[in-house]
């Protein structure tokens, strides 16, 4: 299982905050209902989108196919050197 708890908690709290906490503290006014709906849907949509992307990559069934050049550049630029 390739899930790490930290990103899951961070983003769930973030979008949960937008979708659940903020709607509760919206000030009273004629547009309160609309603002609540907007915030809740934003939270749900953005969280779901992030979740799908995260979960889809969690257990990759295939790996990236890279050519020689790309591997060399990755090794250099992303700091994981090739073995001798």
């Amino acid at each position: 299982m390739g899930a790490a708890a930290l990103p899951f908690i961070i983003f769930t709290v973030l979008w949960g905050g937008v979708g659940i906490v903020l709607p509760i503290i919206v000030p009273k006014g004629p547009n309160r209902g609309i603002i609540q709906v907007i915030l809740m849907l934003t939270g749900v949509c953005c969280w779901l989108f992030w979740l799908c992307c995260y979960v889809a990559q969690m257990n990759p069934l295939i790996g990236p196919k890279l050519d020689k050049h790309t591997i060399m550049v990755m090794a250099k630029a992303w700091g994981n050197e090739l073995k001798e």
Binding site: M1, G2, A3, A4, L6, P7, I10, F11, P30, N31, G33, I34, V37, I38, L41, T42, C45, C46, L48, F49, W50, C52, C53, Y54, V55, A56, Q57, M58, N59, P60, L61, I62, G63, P64, K65, L66, D67, K68, T70, I71, M72, M74, A75, W78, N80, E81, L82, K83, E84
Partner: protein, 863 residues
């Protein structure tokens, strides 16, 4: 304020207005703009209504104002637009206004007439001046060094005349005793339009058989045509000829060619004298003309100050009388009766406005506002503000919501930009769009005040909040897709490593190498936010992205549709329509959930359960044994076994899958007859019961012989329950066969729709793929070329190529792709989402409002 979730509650009201107070009251209601009046005399011809005369007077005033405005525009005087909104004047002020406009118009017309006459005069004098000047040259030529030729012509002419004389003598028809002096050439001089000269010359030559002599000279400066005000080029000509016959002929030709002839004295001294006279007259005329123009200008400047104000006033008066024409006269002629739709929540405001109107008119009797009951459907009125109105417009152009139906707008505010962003996911393009939207939103007031009549700009400006939100969401989805102008950023450090490979091996790679997710190549946890940047570099990026984006589209689509079905529940609850909940909503939810939401669950199960492994013991959960969701789903519906490899042991993802799938499919299948038959059968039963009930009552009534008086009341009470049971569906009078047919269509639409709509959400994947590919191609084919040029030339090349890349990015990727994604999103909302709950069979509330009337009037004028 009503909420946007449902249209405002409306009520039909009857309004009794005192004749004297009616005008003031309607004026106040027009300022308020919350009342829609109904035409109470639809069969009365427009020309026979009560206030036709007043409307006509207003039209006349408007015509005068338009005339004034045209004159003001002609002189280029700026019209003062203070933006103030004067109240509709009292009816008695109308006469003052009329008098003012009448005076102004007459004055202006007089001035214009005078000016035209003066200009004509001026033109004639200028032409005469030119003739005198030009002919002077001709005559000078004659009298100067060209004397021999002249004498020669004279000699020729003389000979000719003598010959003719003798000829006539010979023929024996002496018409008249010719005085030889008459055979000296005489001439006419005039002015003609320059472009007519060639034709004129030819005509003269042919008609007079070459016996005339034409000289012409161009007038260099253009002259103003007094009737049209155009600048025209003219030429001076002078024609020499001989004899009366030719003279009439020449004059006729001149007339035909619209040439103006002027007297031109032969003697040089006379000519000089005449020229002097003309010059002084021209000068006099110039002063007079200047004064006339000054006067006209003063009049127009004075009018320009007030003209906008007057327009507003006249339009308001006209609108009021138009509205009064819709009213009914009471038998006593003392009061006017109106019927109007008003929002229930605004009744108090309307009462207040009516009271103000009564006070203003000084009438003592207050107007009476009565609520009425009506079987008619009230109009749909959604309270929108500048933020929500654009979203509301998206649905209004699809179909106005039925009265008090669930309004999809509040949800669309987010789902629309979100679905758009799935297709348009690129941080860079999203940022461009968001910046444009934010600029329009921040500069809202100055931009709105400019009032451009550019249609495309108005569309953009009207949708500025949609554009801003679409841009912001595209930035978010762009970050998740990890696409910034088709390039990825590596913020958190990729989850894929190449450090397991040896340098030697890498050097020996000929095509490509696939990192193995089962080994240390993958750090065993995903990139925390968005797609791993390694995919952007990989050769099998599309395969991975397709699998991800297709699943994503289906997940989002099914949730979106379920959301639509859920809204239909609230709609039915609101209409108290329990029949629809039981016979439509519940089977619909079951059908969608058991088949399609189950597929979503399978996707998540697959994501969680199957992982890369090289262990032989765990091969069941490895890449090789991961089943295809699509195949599993198809086989579930077809009730077939999914084939599997022997080492995988099973094609199931979890224990008992086959049994559960059979149950789910069977349950979903049962929903079809449930949707198809339950509702018509229930209606049929209810009707039979009601009919039985009715006959029982009628028998009871006829038995008691209660008389006719109570009959109508009884009818009313017995009909109400039928209405509530039928649920406003309007099938109270429909025959049963039609109900069956409707329900059949509805069911087929839903069942087949669920499949085709689910497939339709795949456009989210398709467009997003197309967008990403296009932007990648643009980078590779254009910008990359600039980036790879070496040396100082690289700077120059990049400068040019960046301009090309930038303009292509904006025109193709942001504008065109944006438009295409917008249209697809619109379709997903209109068809896939709305078909689940939205009937859209209402009609819009069109209140009587001065604001709207003035706006449309000024727009019509600009067109």
């Amino acid at each position: 304020m009503g909420s946007l979730f449902r249209s405002a509650e409306m009520t039909l009201c009857q309004l009794f207005l005192q004749s004297e107070a009616a005008y003031a009251c309607v004026s106040e209601l027009g300022e308020l703009g919350l009342v829609q009046f109904r035409d109470l005399n639809p069969d009365v011809n427009v020309f026979q209504r009560k206030f036709v005369n007043e409307v006509r007077r207003c039209d006349e005033m408007e015509r005068k104002l338009r005339y004034l405005e045209k004159e003001i525009k002609k002189d280029g005087i700026p019209m003062l637009d203070t933006g103030e909104n004067p109240e509709a004047p009292q009816p008695r002020e109308m006469i003052d206004l009329e008098a003012t406009f009448e005076k102004l118009e007459n004055e202006l017309r007089e001035v214009n007439q005078n000016a035209e006459a003066l200009k004509r005069n001026f033109l004639e004098l200028t032409e005469l001046k030119q003739i005198l000047r030009k002919t002077q040259v001709f005559f000078d030529e004659h009298e100067g060094g060209t004397n021999p030729t002249e004498s020669m012509t004279r000699a020729l002419i003389n000979e000719d005349s003598i010959a003719r004389q003798s000829g006539s003598v010979q023929l024996g028809f002496p018409e008249k005793n010719y005085d030889p002096e008459e055979y000296y050439p005489c001439f006419v001089a005039g002015v003609i339009l320059r472009e007519r000269i060639p034709a004129f010359e030819r005509m003269l030559w042919r008609a007079c058989r070459g016996n005339v002599f034409l000289r012409q000279a161009e007038i260099e400066t253009p002259l103003e045509d007094p009737s049209t005000g155009d600048q025209v080029y003219k030429s001076v000509f002078i024609i020499f000829f001989q004899g009366d016959q030719l003279k009439t002929r020449v004059k006729k030709i001149c007339e035909g060619f619209r040439a103006t002839l002027y007297p031109c004295p032969e003697a040089p001294a006379d000519r000089r004298e005449m020229a002097m006279g003309v010059m002084t007259r021209i000068e006099d005329l110039n002063t007079v003309l200047g004064q006339t123009q000054d006067h006209r200008h003063r009049v127009l400047v004075a009018a320009a100050k007030n003209i906008k104000n007057w327009f507003v006033k006249v339009r308001k008066i006209k609108a009021i009388y138009h509205t009064l024409n819709l009213f009914n006269l009471d038998v006593t002629q003392k009061c006017l009766i109106a019927e109007c739709w008003v929002p229930v929540l605004d009744l108090e405001n309307i009462q207040l406005a009516l009271r103000r109107g009564t006070e203003r008119s000084g009438s003592s009797v207050p107007p009476i506002l009565n609520r009425m009951d009506t079987p008619e459907d009230p109009p749909t009125y959604n309270h929108t503000n500048k933020f929500t109105s654009a979203f509301q417009a998206l649905y209004d152009s699809y179909g106005i919501a039925s009265y008090r139906e669930m309004n999809p707008t509040p949800y669309t505010i987010i789902t629309f930009p979100f679905l758009f962003a799935i297709m348009f996911g690129d941080f860079g393009h999203g940022a461009l769009m968001a910046v444009f939207g934010a600029w329009m939103v921040l500069k809202e007031k100055p931009l709105a005040a400019k009032k451009s009549d550019n249609e495309i700009w108005n569309i953009f400006f009207g949708g500025r909040y949609i554009i801003l939100l679409m841009g912001l969401f595209s930035m978010y989805t762009g970050l998740i897709y990890n696409d910034v102008f088709s390039k990825s950023v590596n913020i958190f450090g990729s989850s894929w490593k190449v450090s397991n490979l040896t340098l030697k091996y890498v050097e020996s790679i000929t095509t490509d190498h696939m990192l193995d997710p089962a080994t240390d190549d993958y750090v065993q946890y995903s990139y925390p936010f968005g797609l791993d940047p390694v995919w952007q570099l990989s050769k099998n990026k599309i395969i991975f992205l397709n699998s991800f984006k297709m699943k994503l589209s289906i997940i989002i689509g099914i949730i979106h549709m379920l959301f639509g079905v859920a809204i239909s529940y609230f709609k039915n609850v609101n209409f108290n329509n329990h029949l629809n909940i039981i016979c439509e909503f519940i089977p619909q939810v079951i059908f969608l959930t058991f088949l399609f939401f189950y597929m979503v669950l399978l996707m998540f199960i697959k994501w969680f359960m199957y992982y890369p492994t090289n262990e032989p013991t765990e091969i069941v959960y490895g890449t090789r044994c991961a089943p295809s969701i699509l195949i599993t789903f198809i086989n579930m519906v077809l009730n077939k076994r999914t084939p599997y490899e022997p080492i995988c042991e099973t094609s199931n993802m979890y224990a008992g899958q086959e049994g559960i799938q059979k149950f789910l499919f069977f349950a979903a299948f049962l929903c079809v007859p449930w949707m198809l038959l339950a509702k018509p059968i229930m209606i049929n039963r209810a009707r039979k019961a009601a009919a039985l009930h009715n006959t029982n009552h009628n028998q009871l009534h006829s038995a008691t012989e209660n008389g006719d008086a109570e009959q109508p009341m009884h009818n009313n009470t017995s009909q109400t329950p039928v209405v509530t049971q039928g649920g406003g569906g309007g099938h109270d009078e429909e025959p049963m066969s039609e109900i069956y047919i409707h329900q059949g269509i509805h069911t087929i639409e839903y069942v087949l729709g669920s499949i085709s709509h689910t497939a339709s959400y795949l456009r989210l994947w398709a467009l997003s793929l197309a967008h990403a590919q296009l932007s990648e191609v643009l980078w590779q084919m254009v910008l990359n070329k600039g980036l790879t040029v070496e040396g100082w030339a690289g700077g120059v090349a990049l400068y040019i190529i960046f301009a090309i890349w930038g303009s292509l990015t904006i025109s193709i990727l942001v504008l065109m792709e944006g438009l295409s994604a917008f249209l697809h999103t619109l379709r997903l909302h209109w068809v896939e989402f709305c078909s689940k709950f939205y009937s859209g069979a209402g009609y819009a509330f069109q209140p009587f409002s001065f604001e709207i009337i003035l706006e449309s009037a000024s727009q019509a004028k600009e067109e």
